[in-house]
């Protein structure tokens, strides 16, 4: 109700100027005024625009030099990446391209690459042919025994013998499988993924053929998990066996059935004549393709490669862009406790932890612990027992086993939950966008419905209009906070309006259940116009929804009990840790294969942005740590990213984990200094230049905490500073030294590009010098 009095006007104006000065707490009342169409709303809107225009002009005046210099750096990096790519292309193109055989699914196109001088081309072709024909004969033990690991259909439909398989069902071995309706994907027992295009015919684990995949027609895309020693992963066709060497690739049998084309997106494969699988065929690495009918090989055009990438990883085009060149990942793995066999006590503790993670539905963390134990202690029955439990289908939950009018997986595809309920792909929506994240979700066994979402930018409308018969309905709205940008409370709030009634006001998922945790809201509503309308309205950040269920409610029927809130689990039985903090920057809580807990991103000053790229990371087994990161704001006018770790006085080792997830993939594209306690410890760190994209980089520095906290900050030189994970490890008591001026040797070997923090200084002069250098 608007009050025409001057008091009201003065109050709104006072709130408004406070809002512009950064007091977000005044926003709700102002929003109410604007939404109610108060008389001041147009004036506020006009003032906001003018303020912003003045602010932008002022910024461009004050920061002109910074801006121009930053663009100059980007332009220079752009020029250098061009040179780099063309140099690499020249090397790769040493093998001549070959016109691609007629593609069945797409119009034929010219493979990328350039023709080189004819003599060189001929020589290279001859070499390839020689390698092809002369592939070493291997004993007939082609078929590597594989354990009885079950294969599950994860998406799509599949014809298996006479049966129709649906997502969630087990896929039998040695039975002809036909994919005749869209795309279908399988998860194999070892965690590898196999997707097939429409028209594909194949068999799994057919006796007498290298496997697990025997492809008869069509095209498959494989993302292969690390294979245990002695095992191989191959796709065999009539023309060739394609064996993975830790890899993502596609194999296609052309329509006439004569040619087999292998295309490699990541890692390496060996292509060998049929019946002679293994690593001694023609080796293909990323960006290359080969037609097995003649042994010719070409570098894929970017268009071709993009398509292959989209088949292998449907959701990561940015990762493809991040890989314009091949960079050999470092082969040396950091020596760690994993090199040692665990004691009985440690094993028991890890098994307990794995079981606790399983109970919470954190299956991939549990699987990581099982894999880590199995690597170190192969063949133990207790480890296999836990593995079997992790694979077992979850128990039924009665509250979700009711027939529904609608079950909609917002922003996602069709899904069958563990109780056999089918959730339709996203339908009946209006407005909004879809997003998908590959994180594990706590408090549910239906992770896929929470991993996808429909969301709307604040200036957009988003709603669902579900056609129903008039009557009473129970509506369940499913939510989970899954985006790294909004992991804390007050970062996202929105209203939900069902049939014109505001049923959730300024709803804050993270405030209620935390991030990466499922929650369900249930309400009863009446429909009189044949449409059940659900609208979402912005308060802070973007409104979103994960899934919607609608149940009919008879006139005399009592509504079903509302679903329980996520169970509060007892604390995880974590083994003793050597670290004061382990933080997965930009990401969720993660328990690694050694049972070390990395807490969800915390301890930062509510600045910076989260970024995620769910792809394999080279040079580490801790992929989830590196798949998310936090990036600092760029310009001096914004608060820059600072992590602050409360710590009692003493000596500490900081282990900093970095990765180039590939937004500006070029040497010199992103360069920054790292400061600990305001002292520069890493100068001009250029992750791409050191290790390339999507590769883990670990730096260690020592520091002394003097003031009760360890501050970690960053100074940009080009692009944005960023961090993937942080460990703060107290050095042993004997090493906790009283603060002294001067230097102490860290004792760690120096590596190129690495600058160690050697100084522990409280000398006033040194402190002053640092302050002057700080931005």
């Amino acid at each position: 109700v608007s009050d025409p009095g001057g008091d009201r006007r003065a109050r709104i104006q006072a709130l408004w100027v406070r809002y512009l000065a950064g007091e977000a707490t005044t926003a709700p009342e102002l929003l109410a005024e604007v939404r109610a169409g108060g008389e001041l709303a147009p004036a506020l809107a006009a003032d906001a625009q003018l303020h912003r225009l003045l602010d932008a002009l002022g910024r461009s005046h004050a920061e002109e030099a910074v801006f121009v210099e930053q663009v100059g750096r980007l332009v220079a990096a752009e020029a250098s990446v061009d040179r780099f790519v063309s140099a690499v292309e020249r090397q790769i193109d040493a093998v001549p391209p070959r016109p691609r055989p007629t593609a069945r699914l797409r119009p034929a196109r010219r493979p990328g690459g350039r023709w080189l001088a004819a003599p060189l081309a001929l020589a290279a072709a001859a070499a390839a042919a020689a390698l092809w024909l002369g592939a070493t004969r291997r004993p007939s033990s082609d078929v590597v025994a594989r354990g009885p690991a079950p294969t599950t259909l994860t998406t799509g439909l599949l014809q298996a013998g006479g049966d129709r398989l649906r997502p969630g069902q087990l896929v039998p071995a040695a039975v002809p499988l036909v994919c005749d309706e869209g795309r279908a994907c399988l998860r194999l027992g070892d965690g590898s993924q196999l997707c097939m295009e429409r028209g594909t015919r194949l068999q799994l684990d057919r006796p007498g053929r290298p496997g697990p995949v025997v492809l008869e027609a069509g095209k498959v895309a494989a993302t292969v998990r690390h294979q245990p020693p002695g095992a191989t992963f191959a796709v065999s066709t009539a023309a060739a066996d394609v064996t993975a060497i830790g890899t993502a690739f596609t194999v296609e049998v052309t329509e006439d059935g004569r040619a087999t084309i292998a295309r490699v997106v990541e890692g390496t494969v060996a292509v060998s004549p049929p019946g002679r699988p293994g690593a001694d065929g023609v080796r293909l690495s990323a960006h290359q393709a080969l037609s097995a009918s003649g042994g010719a090989r070409w570098r894929m055009s970017s268009e071709e490669e993009r398509e292959e990438w989209s088949l292998v990883r449907a959701h990561t085009p940015a990762a493809f862009l991040a890989r314009p060149v091949e960079i050999t990942p470092p082969t040396a793995r950091p020596e760690g406790p994993e090199a040692l066999s665990p004691s009985e006590t440690e094993t028991a503790a890890l098994l307990r932890l794995g079981d606790a993670l399983r109970a919470r539905g954190r299956l991939s963390d549990a699987q990581g612990i099982i894999d880590g134990l199995a690597r170190r202690l192969p063949g133990r029955s207790d480890i296999e027992r836990l593995a079997a439990e992790v694979r077992a289908p979850p128990p039924a939950q009665p509250w979700n086993a009711t027939p529904a009018v609608y079950r909609i997986n917002a922003g996602g595809g069709r899904y069958m939950d563990p109780r056999g309920n089918i959730w339709s792909a996203d339908i009946h929506y209006s407005g909004g966008h879809t997003g998908e994240f590959q994180e594990e979700i706590d408090g549910t066994d239906m992770d896929p419905i929470y991993r996808s979402e429909r969301f709307a930018f604040p200036s957009e409308r988003m709603s669902y209009h579900l056609p129903v018969a008039d009557g009473q309905y129970v509506v369940r709205l499913h939510f989970a906070e899954i985006w790294a940008g909004t992991v804390k409370s007050n970062m996202r709030q929105f209203d939900v309006i069902v049939e014109g009634q505001r049923v959730l006001a300024a709803y804050d998922i993270a405030a209620e259940v935390g991030s990466m945790t499922a929650t369900v809201k249930q309400l009863v509503t009446s429909v009189r116009d044949g449409n059940l309308d659900i609208d979402f309205a912005h308060v802070v950040e973007n409104p979103k929804v994960s899934a919607i269920e609608v149940f009919a409610l008879g006139p005399d029927q009592a509504p079903p009990p509302p679903p329980a809130l996520p169970t509060v689990f007892p604390p995880l039985p974590l083994p003793p840790t050597d670290a004061l903090y382990r933080v997965n920057a930009g990401g969720r809580e993660y328990v690694d294969s050694l049972g070390r807990r990395w807490e969800a991103d915390n301890h930062f000053n509510d600045s910076g942005l989260g970024a995620a790229q769910y792809v394999d990371i080279a040079g580490t087994d801790l992929d989830p740590l590196y798949q998310t990161e936090r990036r600092s704001f760029l310009l001096p006018s914004r608060r820059s990213l600072v992590y602050s770790f409360p710590a009692p006085p003493g000596r500490y080792l900081l282990r900093l984990h970095f990765v180039e997830l590939g937004l500006r993939p070029a040497p010199g594209g992103e360069v920054f200094d790292v400061l600990v306690e305001k002292a520069e410890v890493l100068r001009a760190l250029d992750i791409f230049a050191e290790v390339g994209p999507l590769t883990a980089l670990v730096k260690e520095v020592e520091t002394t905490a003097l003031d009760g906290a360890i501050d970690l900050s960053f100074r940009p030189r080009a692009g944005r500073p960023k961090i993937a994970a942080i460990e703060v490890i107290p050095l042993s008591g004997g090493q906790v030294a009283a603060p002294v001026a001067g230097c102490a040797q860290s004792g760690l070997p120096a590596r190129p590009g690495m600058v160690w923090l050697l100084a522990v200084a409280i000398a006033v002069g040194a402190a002053r010098r640092w302050r002057r250098r700080a931005p």
Binding site: A43, L50, A56, G435, G485, M491, H538, L635
Partner: protein
């Protein structure tokens, strides 16, 4: 403060030199390109800032506008006006549309604020950025109106917006309440808006 130091939005080369700088930049002269960035950054940043928050995201996008311009510079044909500004704003517009559509959200989503709701009132929910000419007229009108401000009002606008001083620090310096300065700035903006409306370039449609 020195009142002769009124804001000069047209830094860098004079507009008449622009075609020559474009030619040199096309030939690979990066310094010439930097001059062009200097010449157009204020308008491009103002334009992007009008549609994207937070500010550092807007500036990232503005950088991307210039990077794209650099990549496509060879294909750029100088129009009769002799300025690349309409072309730059066209790139910015496409980038904003892409940004709004970006489904992967690697960095697409930003914490939003009340202002975005106000924008939907102001801009009818759409991008409302087809009339880039309008922005240039409004900036020109705003500059004219800022110049007409009295000395005290001008000083406050200049020191807060252009010298990036916080109102809190200005309040201490001038021995006034910060809340009083905020209200004063609101009144100044109201006056600027009235002035711009009188010249036919008001913010309200």
């Amino acid at each position: 403060m020195n009142m002769s130091a009124r804001p000069n939005q047209h830094r860098g080369p004079a507009p008449a030199d622009e075609p020559a700088h474009i030619e040199r930049a096309k030939a690979g002269d990066r310094e010439a390109f930097s001059q062009l960035v200097r010449m157009h950054q204020a308008v491009v940043r103002a334009y992007v800032s009008a549609h994207v928050r937070p500010a550092e995201m807007a500036d990232d996008l503005a950088q991307e506008v210039f990077l794209r311009a650099f990549r496509r510079l060879e294909a750029f044909q100088l129009p009769e006006s002799g300025s690349m500004r309409p072309w730059l704003l066209g790139i910015a517009r496409n980038l904003l549309l892409e940004h709004q559509r970006a489904p992967a959200r690697l960095e697409a989503r930003r914490p939003a604020d009340l202002e975005e709701v106000l924008d939907t009132r102001q801009l009818d929910g759409g991008l409302g950025i087809s009339d880039t000419m309008d922005l240039e007229r409004r900036i020109a009108a705003l500059q004219g109106c800022v110049d007409k401000l009295g000395p005290a009002a001008f000083a406050l606008v200049w020191r807060h917006y252009f010298e990036r001083r916080t109102l809190a620090s200005l309040a201490i310096e001038e021995k006034r309440q910060e809340s009083a300065l905020r209200m004063r700035l609101l009144r100044i903006r109201e006056a600027l808006r009235t002035c711009m409306e009188q010249t036919g370039e008001g913010a309200t449609p």
